[in-house]
Amino acid sequence: MKSGHTNIELITVLTSAIEAVINTALRYDPASKQQLSTLTDILAIESTAPAITLYCHGTEDGVRIMGYCESPVATQLKGSPLALLSLLKQPTNLANSGVELVGSVGLLQQWQQLLQQLDIDWEDAISNVLGDIAGPLAMKTFRGSISWTHNQKEEQLRLLKEYLTEELRAIPSKTELEDFYSAVSDTAMDVDRLSARATQLFNRFKKENNDNKETSE
């Protein structure tokens, strides 16, 4: 970012917003916050599209995210935003992930471990805003809504499957499919047996034919 760079404010807004959200959330997970303070080496995350590099490291106050950094970088990750986000799910395997890594793998593993152990007490966070009565009530309602949504999703899937197989007859049921696969398997075995039998007969016929020729000579 040298003279005349036009994205300084944009990147600074981005880094300050991400930093504020993470650090606000970390207030409700003191253990992770304490662990974060040990990750003082710089992790650089370079997104290829849009072309942005963010630098982050842990501090006593949480995480610090920068758009400009002159300090030495311990680990640099480079890839598309989706590929970089997928690293959160697959802990250490970078093969075919679309992410290039330069530097220490250990630092990346420490960050991944920290992110996976993150246990934010959302009820406490909500209670700080809504109070000790409305906060837990809101969280209970929220958890109930999540559970209801999950159940509804499973029920809708079951009904849709039933409608497609039983009412529309658009797709076969599981039992019909199993019978079909079983019949295909039986047929395949019968064909194999027939083929083996034919080969055996052919070989026997060939041998008898050769014996007859030798006798006549």
């Binding site: 040298k2 003279s3 760079h5 300084i8 404010e9 300050s16 002159e70």
Partner: protein, 261 residues
């Protein structure tokens, strides 16, 4: 008001020295007093006016300045014209217990506001306060790892003298960061900016602090301040190396960086 420190003498090359106070020509010995009057007047509502006038963007300019400073634990930092202590607060977190930050301003009202703010925010172990003139820094040679002056250099009467003074107290390899209003890089933006500065700014000053003149001075002093390339040349002439600048908000503000060789 995003603006800070005044000083004493403007390029004292002649016996009958005159200098500018905004667009007005004043005697050199009067300028410091006139500028001090501006800041005594606005100190109480300084933060509020900063947010209103810049739409909060001054926080982004300062945040970027902190990033470019590359300040690390154990560093010694001098924040000249530190005003209400925005930069000093961040530096105090970065340098840690082994480091030291000196928040300084020539104006006692501004320094008092800054000191109160930092104490209220629980900062007291590694920050010291000093009322000083940027042209005559009362520190030993090679003392600081980093010096910042945010929205203060244009109020310094002899800018070259101040830059040389800063170079002297920096350690070799230390860096000076000058955050200051500058020249917009787009003519359309410049016209809009002029209208804003000379019409809206004094009106806001009148409404909020009942002091239109101070905010008129702010707009005028910005126009009298050297543009990006001139300030870069001044830093080079003072003896800084690897000088460069970063334009922000289309050149409305520029951050100049120079390293002591």
């Amino acid at each position: 008001m995003i603006d800070e420190t005044p000083a004493k003498t403007e390029n004292p090359t002649h016996a009958t020295q005159k200098t500018h106070f905004g667009f007005e020509e004043v005697a050199v010995e009067d300028k410091a007093e006139r500028v001090a009057g501006v800041f005594h007047s606005v100190a109480g509502k300084y933060d509020l006016m900063n947010d209103l006038m810049s739409g909060g963007i001054h926080r982004l300019w300062k945040r970027f300045t902190i990033e470019v400073s590359a300040v690390r634990p154990g560093h010694k930092v001098l924040d000249i014209a530190g005003g209400t202590g925005d930069l000093a607060y961040k530096f105090s977190k970065l340098v840690g217990d082994k480091g030291q930050v000196i928040l300084s301003d020539i104006n006692s009202s501004m320094l008092n506001v800054g000191r109160d703010r930092l104490i209220d925010r629980g900062v007291n172990s590694n920050v010291q306060y000093a009322q000083l003139d940027a042209q005559y820094l009362p520190f030993a040679d090679n003392t600081f790892d980093c010096i910042t002056i945010a929205f203060g250099l244009r109020n310094v009467t002899d800018k070259d003298l101040a830059l040389r003074s800063m170079l002297r107290v920096l350690k070799p390899g230390g860096r000076l960061l000058v955050l200051e209003f500058s020249k917009p890089q787009n003519s359309m933006l410049e016209k809009v900016y002029d209208q804003y500065s000379f019409r809206l700014l004094p009106l806001m000053g009148k409404l909020i602090t009942n002091d239109a003149d101070s905010y008129r001075y702010l707009a005028e002093s910005i126009r009298m301040h050297p543009d990006q390339d001139t300030l870069k040349d001044m830093m080079n002439s003072a003896g800084f190396a690897n000088t460069e600048f970063y334009n922000m908000t289309g050149g409305v503000v520029a951050l100049h960086k120079g390293i002591k060789p």
